[in-house]
Symmetry: C2
Subunit: 419 residues, 2 copies
């Protein structure tokens, strides 16, 4: 155990003294007297240190009591570190090896020490660089199926699930950021919003679009009331680190009990935006077309892998109180269980499309934009790319029932891109 | 404050000693030396005492650590008294005067001292006796609107709602009873089930009815995951006490955060069963027809009053983070807010019908039957009445979208009753 002392932001001098007493750490990375410590975070939301020893390295992530990145002086409580820790442990148990392992959690210091991922890079950067990642669809689809299924009443003992529901109901502050920035601000006039010059009229039209606002309101209600499973809560391409063969999920501090489609939709929405951004960066040639095709295959592949793994878990791990084998297999109606699975997957797919659509709006109309679009220097071209993403996102939010499977999503993306 | 001492079931001798120190009680009912105490509960689930003094009377309800009524030796934790207390306070604040006021809560003794309701009788008995209660529809519709709206993120400050969500997530045991007895057992073979002789084939057919089982599974998922508002959780006609002019809601120990339609549906389902039971008791004459008509008017009136009050609250108290006035009124689109209300009411109505239908199944196929049917001495006639209720319940579960408003429900009830 580390001694309790009041929170203070650590630095390369104080961190090793704080960690020297942590059990097992020297065993993992080597004796403390040889540690080399570097601060590598951008300092906006968290301090991030790499601690390297003779045997290996770890990351030490310490929360700061504010978030300069979301507003100039937006205070954020240190408690988010507590939720991130609990989410890292749970999600890591549900898909072993897919999240960094936690070695130390120091609640007083809002400090998590975990695996240093190397040579991994942020997926968003990798997509911008045009890397093809042949295993990513399968790894992400499986990750989503495993964490979403295993955190739900389809698999968990319900008293345990309800304890976790109560625990993560405390993550009010970060849920509040999502409630405001994803579901509210983009659809109304707010000083936190920002749009690319040239998109002002589009933004005004969308904010006057009653059908779209009703869809946003319904999705916000789903987000806030459907406590289905433990979500990552911020599962975009900046929360995944990759190599050519591997992928890891990081930063689940927005974790809470919410609808399965929210994590899947956020991820697919970001992939679709990566697709629409390509035309803003590269000349229209064979290489770009091939990469665009690959992104759409990725969208399709993530859903297919999710669906396949979810079905496997449904058939083999459906032990929770929503599993209801009593009504189906136990009564000789195994086909009924397959029909229940199909109905459930339809619902998740529908939610996924809606949440993907809203993610595409909030990244263009709201506060937090994405580098894929932001780095398109030609503002007219940037606005064109974003306008296409908005058109696609609107369809996903308003007519999710018209997409029977992800190939229809790809088809629409291709047709919207040529507008 | 009462002193803390280990739980022990109280009796007419020990209760006054326990309560003598309770602040304010003597002020309310008169000095303790003149109290007269009677035990009036059936002793199956709780001890219920009436404490009468010179100035008035109170009820003292103490939980017992088992529930003989649900199973011969079904242990139940005393903690349910804690959830009942917290629900009584919250629901009472949301619809003032509609629930008994709590005067003492003694957590160690699982003891709640509250208003003694007199001359109120249980609504179920009143319906069986054929009483016409002219204000009941309005009072119950308003109660449902006020408690369901005001306990949700349409009205509450979300940090407060999330704290309550976490608190009631602890009510695992009583939720578990609902999960088993309402949503699972009735649709499979279980030793806890019981059906009226003559209904065995109907029960077997329903348990082989895949569409019905899928609907039950979807409703169970809604019940378990849709943490929309604080529900009473067991809102049937045995949880309401009435006089000709007044009605009060009691016994909210099953309270938890769930879907709005669950409370409304349980109530309407029980009214519909009261309707179908009439033919088992009274000769088919003008008086019976008039009372049957009144019950159906009650069904329609409860929903109408709910809808009207919910709309009023929507327009005047929509201050929670799901209210989204930012998207509608604040942006000059007041009609958009009305459209959002209409969409929400459609969803609640749909859920209500499904939950009404499942309530009608579980009271006939499951463990906990209702006296309206149980007191029909002629078993063939009882089975006929129950068969009609099942036919109606099945339609409500399978085709909720075909009922545009409660008059369609009444129409179906009338047509099913003559089969």
């Amino acid at each position: 155990m580390l001694d309790k002392r009041p929170y203070e932001p650590l630095d390369v001098g104080t961190l090793p003294r704080r960690l020297a007493a942590a059990p097992g750490l020297a065993h993992r990375i080597g004796p403390a007297e040889h540690w080399r410590v570097r601060e590598v975070g951008d300092g906006n939301l968290n301090l991030v240190f790499i601690v390297e020893g003779q045997l290996g390295a770890v990351i030490a992530k310490q929360a700061l009591p504010y978030a300069r990145c979301v507003g100039d002086s937006w205070p954020l409580s240190l408690e988010r570190s507590y939720f991130e820790y609990h989410a890292l442990v749970r999600l890591g148990q549900r898909d072993p090896g897919r999240l960094p392992q936690v070695h130390v959690f120091d609640q007083e210091q809002a400090l998590i020490v975990m695996d240093y991922l190397t040579p991994h890079v942020i997926l968003r950067k990798s997509l911008m660089a045009g890397d093809v990642l042949p295993l990513l669809d399968r790894q992400m689809g499986q990750y989503l199926a495993r964490t979403l299924f295993r955190g739900s009443d389809f698999a968990m003992e319900t008293a345990h699930r309800k304890r976790d529901l109560a625990l993560f109901a405390g993550n009010v502050e970060l849920c509040g950021i999502s409630e405001d920035l994803i579901f509210t601000d983009p659809f109304c006039v707010s000083p936190r919003n920002r749009v690319t010059p040239g998109l002002e009229e589009d933004a005004a039209a969308l904010r006057a679009d009653r059908a779209l606002k009703l869809a946003a309101a319904a999705l916000k209600r789903k987000f806030a009331t459907c406590a289905e499973t433990l979500l990552h809560g911020d599962f975009h391409s900046g929360s995944v680190m990759v190599t050519a063969q591997d992928s890891r999920v990081i930063d689940p501090e927005f974790a809470f009990y919410g609808p399965m489609g929210f994590d899947i939709g956020a991820f697919l929405g970001n992939l679709l935006m990566a697709y629409f951004a390509k035309a803003g960066h590269d000349a229209e040639d064979h290489a770009r077309a091939a990469y665009e095709d690959w992104i759409l295959q990725l969208v399709e592949g993530v859903w297919s892998a999710f669906e396949a793994e979810f079905a496997r878990l449904w058939r083999t791990e459906r032990t929770g109180m929503l599993g209801l084998a009593e009504l189906f297999e136990d009564g000789g109606d195994a086909e009924g269980a397959e029909a229940a699975l199909a109905a459930l997957l339809r619902d998740i797919w529908r939610d996924t499309l809606g949440f993907a659509g809203i993610e595409m709006h909030r990244r263009i109309l709201g506060l937090a934009h994405i580098p894929e679009f932001e780095t398109i220097a030609d503002l007219t071209l940037r606005a064109t790319c974003e306008r296409r993403a908005l058109a696609m996102g609107r369809r996903l939010m308003l007519q999710p029932d018209t997409f029977s499977d992800p190939r229809h999503v790809s088809r629409l993306a291709r047709s919207v891109r040529t507008v």
